[in-house]
Symmetry: none
Subunit: 225 residues, 2 copies
Amino acid sequence: MAELVAGYLRRDGYEVHLAFDGPTGVASAREVDPDVIVLDLGLPGLDGVEVCRRVRTFSDCYVVMLTARTDEIDTLIGLSVGADDYVTKPFRPRELMARITAMQRRPRRAATATVAGSVADETVPPILVGPLRIDLVGREVELDGDPVGLTRTEFDVLAALARRPLAVLTRRQLIEAVWGERWVGDEHLVDVHVLHVRQKLGDTADAQRFVRTVRGVGYRMGTGE
Amino acid sequence: MAELVAGYLRRDGYEVHLAFDGPTGVASAREVDPDVIVLDLGLPGLDGVEVCRRVRTFSDCYVVMLTARTDEIDTLIGLSVGADDYVTKPFRPRELMARITAMQRRPRRAATATVAGSVADETVPPILVGPLRIDLVGREVELDGDPVGLTRTEFDVLAALARRPLAVLTRRQLIEAVWGERWVGDEHLVDVHVLHVRQKLGDTADAQRFVRTVRGVGYRMGTGE
DNA sequence: GGGTCCGATCAAGATTCGATGAAGACCCAG
DNA sequence: CTGGGTCTTCATCGAATCTTGATCGGACCC
């Protein structure tokens, strides 16, 4: 099961770490500081709920829980386990992937937990790509220290790419990341926004420093130069 | 039950301490000096009313009481227990959270009960944003040292932005911060208050020194100029 | 070498979004 | 109860932005 999910994730460009019991999982999470954790309930050693709690003590990463029964989800929510999404087994891998992608569109919990009266720490660091700094919280982009004025969609496109710097994202994936799932229209739309991003970042079709074209597939983040 | 509530609180970023009987609760309250106490009537050892009274002897924190019956509330109020809010069981956790959040928006009893000239320690420093000083405790705003007369809502909007100076807040987040969770209405309400704040702060749509528009997303605090 | 596919680019219309003013509802103090 | 201040809704305008369609040129395949 884990291998199956891992395969799908890798295919989408994720770097995957596997752990086959709770304590190992927690240790691994602490070590690699992942963006997303897919957590199967019924792990040996520690149960999934406890794993989630422990992870939450040091990480704000997204957590998806795989559960066997639908009604179990309510219980979990009631327990305030703190997962970001729940998927019941059996599931179609494609659906899991879709939800993982969609999840990352949501603001991180640290960014939303605006407890009255307390100044929440800005625990979400900006993404650094060479001379490019992308602040997801403030929605600001700086190139060599100079602010770049991107529109909402342009920023979202760039952010979607920057979130997974090594992966090639298809147009469809980008559309899903920026506009959401229920989309019908022209995939070519992405091209235009990529064009605009490139123009504002000083990229051209020839010199693609940041947004690189992968012909026949999609776009990929470049590390600059 | 306590775990359930604790879970919800933690999810919203609160640090939670649990106590399973009255005396322990009082001792714990004395020790950690909490912002909020959620108090279930029918505790063993001391009844909730007595716990509340004792806590009140040394703390001005907010107290929410969980009661079993509606008509009990009237009795409690009659007893002048001094709780800040009452919630009947069974309750939906979401509602409890909403009321806890809302409660803290109200001025603290210490702040209102300004009886005999005793000034509470100002443990909450004002927020400084360039030439702007925002005093959350006194609910005062100064620009270049001159006081600015903001209304309640205007102040709340500005304060919500100032609490997270680097983040872009959506209209929905602002509404949640200012008005509370269960809101149905026009999000453009925020615009109007932002407009008023800007006017009083000398900002215009063009020169946005303090409250900046992030088109398509929301508003963000500016650092002045 | 020629054809086809794909992506880049441009321009224009459609759409969304935010600022603003005004009017009514509401609340609180006197 | 009355008046002033405040909050909320509503409608409008103008501009920023999105989206589409067409065209162009290069890359890839045969």
